[in-house]
């Protein structure tokens, strides 16, 4: 809870910095504040505190995800550092991002559906604006409008679901609803199940699982690159953590209702994400489809719904986010250099800047799930959790899908090392970006080596 207050305070501080003209000093303050958030929330490990009439519940799951989100946000601020040097609306961006983080933290620690709704809205509302923050770019406008219309529609479904569930159980509290299910098993009215399904539709939209993924590629491509990086990492993590928390605390006992639907959804998401990603020319769009595909893998944890799920989802989102941040950092440097986001822009990067090429290779290998990297262990634990619950079919599909995934991730690697581009001038990397890349690379390997430790956390 203190971490939440600190984050809101940081957002307020950025607004104050605009009013009282100390904009230039705000960047280090925000970075320090994010580190403070990590420490503050980590202090509540194993305390399991309830707050404000059970609105929030900081169990270990919430604490771990709060730390993860704050850390990714820290890395994200380093990644976007030179983007804000160019932007005139510095404080707007900072405040919106920080308030979006507040929403994200609420989404991983809610215990009451009204908080879930508010968290999702705070996060989404900031993103709608940020997606359209390049006002003169038509693609950015399109992205914002699409995201807003689709997002508002999905929120409508979510609210309708919440309303129906409230109508049956008379409560927004997750624990009360879970108790209601166990007390009344056998004669729960159909209205309740419809509510569950409507909520599922709303959440599936937020994690961009097929067939609710149509907005994702356009929005990811149209938004400014740093915002895309934010959506692909933090938003994905928070949305998935919220989805899992809802189903694990509330609806885990009625898996017969939603199990098959999630099963079909996972297969569709894996197929659509991976297969469509193979014929993308733009790296940004490819990463968008890859993020859809990763949502498909993560759905396995919900299908598994056992004691391994929470740990594996934490590990997977962490591995995926760190690798994505690395990939987006390299991509942003390349786009800055050549103003071209097609895969050709990577041609000959192995010679132009070996370090960047190495970082991109590691990120791609981790996303593809090649052994020593974190991504492999993420997939391993996810598949293991699903197998423990006897979900063999879906694991087979997921393994096949990740083989397809290897193909398109290697396209970038091949371009960097085996193709030569027209431009062969070396690419410079700023000090902060170098620092960030080293940090993420170390993390990708370290998480791979110490995967046992991370997975035991939850």
């Amino acid at each position: 809870m203190k971490s939440l207050i600190l984050l809101s305070g940081l957002g307020v501080l950025t607004l104050l910095s605009e009013i009282f003209n100390f904009k230039r000093k705000i960047f280090p303050v925000v970075l320090l504040g994010l580190l403070g958030t990590i420490v503050l929330s980590a202090m509540y490990w194993n305390t399991n505190k309830h707050y404000f009439n059970d609105m929030m519940f900081f169990d270990n799951y919430a604490v771990a995800f709060t730390c993860l989100i704050s850390f990714i946000a820290f890395a994200w601020f380093l990644l976007s550092q030179n983007y804000f040097n160019e932007e005139t609306n510095l404080t707007d961006h900072f405040a919106l991002i920080l308030f979006a983080l507040v929403g994200a933290v609420i989404m991983v620690s809610y215990q009451n559906m009204s908080m879930l709704f508010l968290g999702i809205e705070t996060l989404s509302l900031s993103l709608y604006v940020l997606a359209g923050s390049r006002k003169n770019d038509l693609h950015s406008n399109e992205a914002a409008l699409k995201y807003f219309l689709m997002g508002a529609f999905a929120t409508g479904f979510l609210l309708f679901g919440i309303a129906l569930i409230y109508g049956v159980t008379g409560s927004f509290n997750l624990q009360t609803i879970a108790n209601y299910i166990t007390l009344n098993s056998g004669n729960i009215p159909a209205l309740f199940y419809t509510g569950v399904l409507l909520m599922m539709v709303g959440m599936a939209f937020k994690i961009s699982a097929a067939p609710f993924h149509f907005w994702a590629p356009d929005v990811y491509q149209g938004s400014p690159l740093v915002i895309t990086a934010f959506m692909a990492t933090i938003v994905k993590t928070a949305a998935f953590a919220a989805f899992f928390r809802l189903f694990f605390t509330c609806f885990s006992t009625i898996e017969s209702v939603w199990g098959n639907i999630i099963f079909v959804m996972a297969i569709l998401t894996l197929a659509v994400g991976n297969i469509t990603a193979t014929y993308q020319e733009s790296v940004k769009r490819m990463l968008a489809y890859s993020s859809i595909a990763h949502a498909g893998y993560m759905l396995l944890a919900i299908l598994a719904m056992n004691k391994f799920s929470a740990g594996s989802i934490l590990f997977y989102t962490a591995a995926y986010s760190v690798a994505s941040i690395t990939a987006f950092t390299v991509l942003s440097i390349i786009i800055n250099k050549s103003n071209n986001e097609a895969i050709d822009a990577f041609n000959g990067l192995g010679k132009r800047n070996p370090f960047l090429a190495f970082a991109m290779t590691v990120a791609m290998l981790s996303l593809a799930g090649i052994p020593p990297m974190a991504g492999f262990f993420g997939k391993y634990y996810l598949f293991n959790a699903a197998l423990q619950s006897g979900q063999t079919t879906i694991v087979l599909v997921a393994v096949l899908a990740s083989l397809v995934g290897v193909y398109y991730y290697f396209k970038a690697i091949i371009a960097m090392y085996f193709k030569s581009g027209s431009d062969s001038s070396p690419v410079e990397v700023s000090f902060i970006h170098k620092l960030l890349l080293v940090l993420t690379l170390v993390l990708i390997f370290a998480m791979g080596l110490m995967s046992d430790f991370v997975i035991r956390l939850l």
Binding site: V12, L15, L16, E18, I19
Partner: protein
């Protein structure tokens, strides 16, 4: 405090009076006034200008910005009614709650002023 349907009678009366006044005056003016319709009468007056084009032209976003900010503060004020009714009961704690809420929005207001969003240029 279960309210009775008859409690709404004044409101209903008010609606009837409001609607009746509009309808009544429109009806009466059409009946009472002399009805002469000619080309010259419907024309623009000699000192006026010919109306041009259509009224539906896109207008500046500034109006919209002001309107949207108005809605935000409008909703904010609505939160104060239930608070005011319970003011004594909620005591100091409720006061601090409202102060936090208003603090956030006041900050937003100063931010808007500083950004010059309300300046008309």
């Amino acid at each position: 405090m279960q309210s009775n349907l008859y409690d709404y009678l004044p409101i209903l009366l008010m609606f009837i009076v409001a609607g009746g006044f509009v309808g009544g005056t429109m009806f009466v003016t059409h009946k009472l006034g002399p009805q002469i319709k000619s080309k010259i009468k419907l024309d623009t007056f000699e000192c006026g200008i010919e109306s041009q084009g259509n009224a539906r032209i896109p207008f500046s976003i500034k109006y919209f910005l002001v309107a949207i900010l108005f809605v935000l503060f409008d909703v904010e004020v609505i939160f104060m009614y239930p608070w005011a009714v319970n003011f004594k009961e909620l005591g100091l704690f409720g006061f601090i709650e409202m102060l936090t809420f208003m603090g956030f929005l006041l900050l937003g207001f100063f931010y808007i002023l500083k950004k010059g969003a309300l300046k008309w240029e």
